[in-house]
């Protein structure tokens, strides 16, 4: 038997063991068949095709690990690898019939909802080799369903840790459904435990139904030895809104594919992405908003900082489909180059098939704002500190959108650490 057949058989065994519903097993098999026939997705100016990007080893059960009690506060989910360590819902959520559960439970208890929304609207499972591989080997995940008219005051927080201790690959799915008129915030923290060389394939789908409003904050801090494909995609119906705030602070090689499909009239996606590339890593970020609906609005803001010998590519794509009259697509990509050995790409792309629209982009590349720097230095800050402070301001659009103060604090610490390392590199290499 070929390796793939062996893998398929072990996934089927896993699926039987977990008593996955028939429709899901059938889809898995279809994905296995289709996987090898589909191409890898292509992103402008991001050449990742030779990376170890296809997961191969996903079934290892995670070893036991202690729950970090600090994380289990409020409405939280803590997952490490295939294990869900803690899942706490406040009374508010229970009373309002909000569903939050791990993937295994979701498939058994909410099979009909999953079947309706999973990889049929936002991300199509047969779109390319990575999405098919995702479905074929999906082993863990999270399902969130917020019913009609429900508004939540407290954010829902997840800590999703990739377990790289035993070299297993990671395929993780998050499906979020915001039913009509619902309104809530979600904060997703991703990191890595252990340092074996691994592949991660992560897909997050957000279905925002009519008039719903989702605030999505994501902080990605995957490890240096993890090669990851992270796809987050929104599907927005009439007058729905998603505010994306994504901080990419990974240490390994990353493909970030962030899309919003503005299907309904008046749908609105506001996408803010900040990224720091350090060391020798390569991060390729492809952020796309597609306006299908009339008077839909897409906004993209991308700010990136590039250090050491790293590479950061920002593609921003605003696509207005014919018929989307009155649509608006705006984007801004700004890159700070702090190293003479690094590489940065900012590719703002507009694809416009309709005339009654407004579309625009601005991109810039440069150094830290010298005026701001001198101002701070004149107040007694040393140069490196002043530089880091200016950069923190530059990353502000995402930092301020993080709904939890402690997460924000830790994020700032991580950023400080990365910048200090980058500054050391510059000193040595000059």
């Amino acid at each position: 038997m070929s390796d793939l057949k062996v893998l398929e058989q072990s996934v089927i065994d896993f699926s039987n063991l977990k008593k996955e519903p028939g429709w899901f097993q059938k889809l898995r098999k279809a994905a296995f068949t289709k996987m090898t026939m589909l191409e890898l997705p292509s992103f402008e100016k991001i050449r990742y095709q030779r990376w170890p990007i296809i997961p191969k080893q996903t079934l290892l059960e995670s070893r036991k690990v202690e729950l970090d009690q600090k994380r289990a506060v409020g409405n939280t989910v803590v997952q490490v690898g295939s294990r869900t360590l803690s899942l706490k819902l406040t009374n508010e959520l229970k009373q309002k019939n909000v569903i939050i559960c791990d993937w295994e439970t979701a498939l058994i208890e909410h099979s009909d909802l999953i079947q309706k929304y999973f990889m049929t609207k936002a991300v199509k499972w047969d779109a390319d080799r990575l999405t098919a591989a995702h479905l074929a080997q999906l082993t863990s995940g999270l399902f969130i369903y917020v019913p009609r008219n429900v508004e939540l005051d407290e954010p829902i927080t997840s800590y999703l840790t990739q377990d790289a201790r035993d070299g297993q690959d990671y395929v993780h799915h998050v499906l979020i459904v915001a039913a009509e008129n619902s309104r809530f915030s979600y904060l997703e923290n991703r990191d890595t435990l252990g340092n074996e060389t691994t592949t991660a394939n992560i897909i997050v789908e957000v279905i925002a139904e009519q008039n719903s409003h989702v605030k999505f904050a994501g902080v990605d801090q995957l490890g240096e030895t993890t090669t990851a494909y992270i796809n987050r995609r929104g599907y927005l119906l009439d007058n729905a809104k998603i505010d994306w705030s994504i901080g990419l602070l990974n240490d390994g090689n990353i493909i970030g594919d962030f899309d919003s499909d503005l299907i309904g009239a008046g749908a609105h996606a506001d996408v803010k992405v900040v990224a720091i590339s350090t060391g020798n890593q390569i991060q390729g970020i492809d952020t796309r908003v597609t306006n299908y609906g009339k008077h839909s609005i897409g906004q993209i803001l991308q700010h990136g900082v590039i250090l050491s010998r790293s590479t950061l590519t920002f593609n921003g794509i605003g696509h207005i489909i014919k018929g989307a009259k009155g649509a608006n697509a705006q984007q801004e990509s700004r890159v700070l180059m702090l190293s003479t050995k690094a590489r940065g790409d900012a590719n703002p792309i507009l694809l416009i098939d309709e005339n009654d629209v407004q579309a625009g982009h601005a991109a810039s590349v440069g150094r830290v704002n010298q005026e701001q720097l001198y101002y701070l230095m004149s107040r007694g800050l040393h140069k490196e500190g002043a530089e880091r402070l200016v950069i923190r301001g530059f990353l502000g659009p995402v930092l301020t959108a993080i709904p939890a103060a402690d997460v924000r604090e830790r994020l700032i610490e991580t950023i400080e650490g990365k910048l200090i390392n980058g500054q050391k590199f510059e000193k040595v290499s000059r």
């Binding site: 003479t340 790409d345 900012a346 590719n347 792309i349 416009i352 009654d356 590349v365």
Partner: protein, 464 residues
């Protein structure tokens, strides 16, 4: 609102029934390449160059991006047609029928008025060429590239194919295999000419391939202003214009290269234009694309010397079913180099106008700066536009600003003008004229007037 007269046709769509005195017929084989070279009595190295390029051409794929070229009938094309066996230096010596054609295009008239030199290419070769004596005395060489190869073989050999290798793309390989005509200019050290030199390119027969090869060398401290215009008759069968242009701008030199491309809507215009600017040199492309069926053209400037400056100023206008796929490339390879790209695009009646750009700051481009501005107006809901700029940065000590906007005609501006009693059609035209003004104001007077007239004509019937 009053119905506007849509009338009028492509003004340069007339044709004459002039028969070429020599032609390689339809289609292209290695024998055709040898035949062209033999007909021109070329040195051995050029034949070898052509044959190597032909082998490349046969192997290379069509471009992987941009407009669909599958309707381009390369097998039926006429690759070489000689119209005259001498190059006239006096307008009276040009064959009557060709003369009539160029007279209608206003070519000699323009020369009398304001040009330092002028040449006219008809099908594959230059039929007329003239240079004002006072400029000739300064040592400026201005002739067709075929003659230059005979008269200045060493100079041509030194620069030919050095900026645009045959292997650059399928159509540069094709040009390198079958090139004919085009302009050769050499401006000696320190010689400056303010008065423009002009070439006019005309395709007359249907299914014609025109492969001009232009080579310009502006030596240290010299300056030149070169203008080219292009037209062709309307046919149902398509023609192909695949030029290669190489411009070498030496230390402290200046070159402005202005193109007004107004091919008829059966011409594929697939161009490769590249310039290299050395220390403190300035290269400027001024590029107007108004006609053709499909245009693919992305002039580039390699800023290889410290302090070099490059400019691209362009407009593209895509009317009914025309595809203008144009743009610019700036490659900053040295310290303190600067560049600016300003692109204005308009499309209507199902036209498609795309901007494709590439901007690179190399490892050694410390202190460099680039500015890019792309504005597009989509005039109606049959038309579309993509803006696809790539910016690649390999140096931490540079700065780049890029802005782009796509919209319809501004309603605010329209209503303001109409509230002053101006008709919608006139107001629209005024807004468009204002939109392209940064371009027209850089053109020589005669061209600016002509361009404004062309745009007025293109705009007719756009409101109603």
């Amino acid at each position: 609102m009053k119905e506007l007269d849509v009338g009028g046709e492509y003004e340069y769509g007339f044709k004459d029934d002039f028969e070429p005195i020599y032609s390689t017929g339809r289609g292209l084989t290695e024998a055709t390449v040898r035949e062209i070279s033999a007909a021109k009595n070329e040195p051995e190295w050029m034949l070898d160059y052509r044959l190597r390029a032909f082998a490349l051409y046969e192997k290379m794929p069509m471009p992987s991006f941009g407009p669909d070229l599958s309707q381009l009938d390369l097998a039926n094309m006429r690759y070489f047609q000689r119209a005259s066996d001498t190059i006239a230096r006096d307008w009276d010596d040009v064959p009557d029928k060709i003369k009539e054609t160029f007279d209608r295009l206003g070519v000699p008239e323009a020369e009398r008025k304001y040009l330092a030199g002028s040449s006219a290419q008809y099908e594959s070769e230059v039929v007329y060429h003239h240079m004002r004596e006072d400029f000739e005395k300064l040592g400026i060489i201005f002739m067709d590239t075929d003659s230059a190869l005979q008269e200045y073989p060493e100079l041509v050999k030194q620069y030919f194919g050095k900026l645009v290798p045959a292997s650059n793309n399928k159509f540069s390989a094709l040009n390198s295999a079958v090139w004919s005509g085009g302009t050769f200019i050499y401006v000696p050290k320190g010689v400056k000419t303010e008065v423009p030199i002009q070439s006019y390119f005309r395709i007359n027969a249907e299914n014609t391939g025109q492969f001009e090869r232009t080579l310009i060398i502006v030596d240290e401290g010299a300056s030149v202003n070169y203008v080219e215009g292009c037209t062709a008759p309307n046919y149902s069968a398509d023609s192909l214009h695949a030029a290669v242009v190489e411009v070498n701008v030496m230390k402290d030199a200046y070159c402005r290269y202005t193109t007004i491309q107004n091919w008829s809507d059966n011409v594929y215009s697939l161009e490769t234009k590249r310039a290299r600017a050395l220390e403190n040199a300035t290269m400027e492309w001024v590029d107007g694309n108004l006609g053709s069926k499909v245009t693919m053209k992305y002039p580039s400037i390699y800023l290889d010397g410290q302090g070099a400056h490059g400019t691209m100023l362009s407009i593209a206008f895509a009317g009914g079913n025309i595809i203008q796929d144009t743009g610019a490339k700036m490659i900053h390879n040295a310290k303190k180099t600067t560049s600016s790209i300003v692109s204005k695009s308009l499309c209507k009646d199902g036209g498609r106008v795309d901007y494709r750009g590439y901007l690179k700051f190399g490892r050694h481009s410390d202190g460099s700066f680039a500015h890019v501005e792309c504005d597009t107006i989509i005039m109606d809901d049959q038309s579309a536009s993509d803006t696809i700029p790539f910016n690649e940065i390999l140096n931490g000590n540079v700065s780049m600003e890029h802005e782009a906007k796509v919209s319809k005609i501004s309603e605010e501006q329209l209503y303001y003008l109409m509230s002053r009693g101006i008709s919608e059609a006139k107001a629209t035209e005024m807004i468009v004229m204002g939109f392209v003004e940064p371009f027209t104001k850089e053109l020589p007077m005669e061209y600016a007037v002509e361009l404004n007239r062309l745009i007025e004509y293109q705009m007719e019937g756009s409101v109603g």
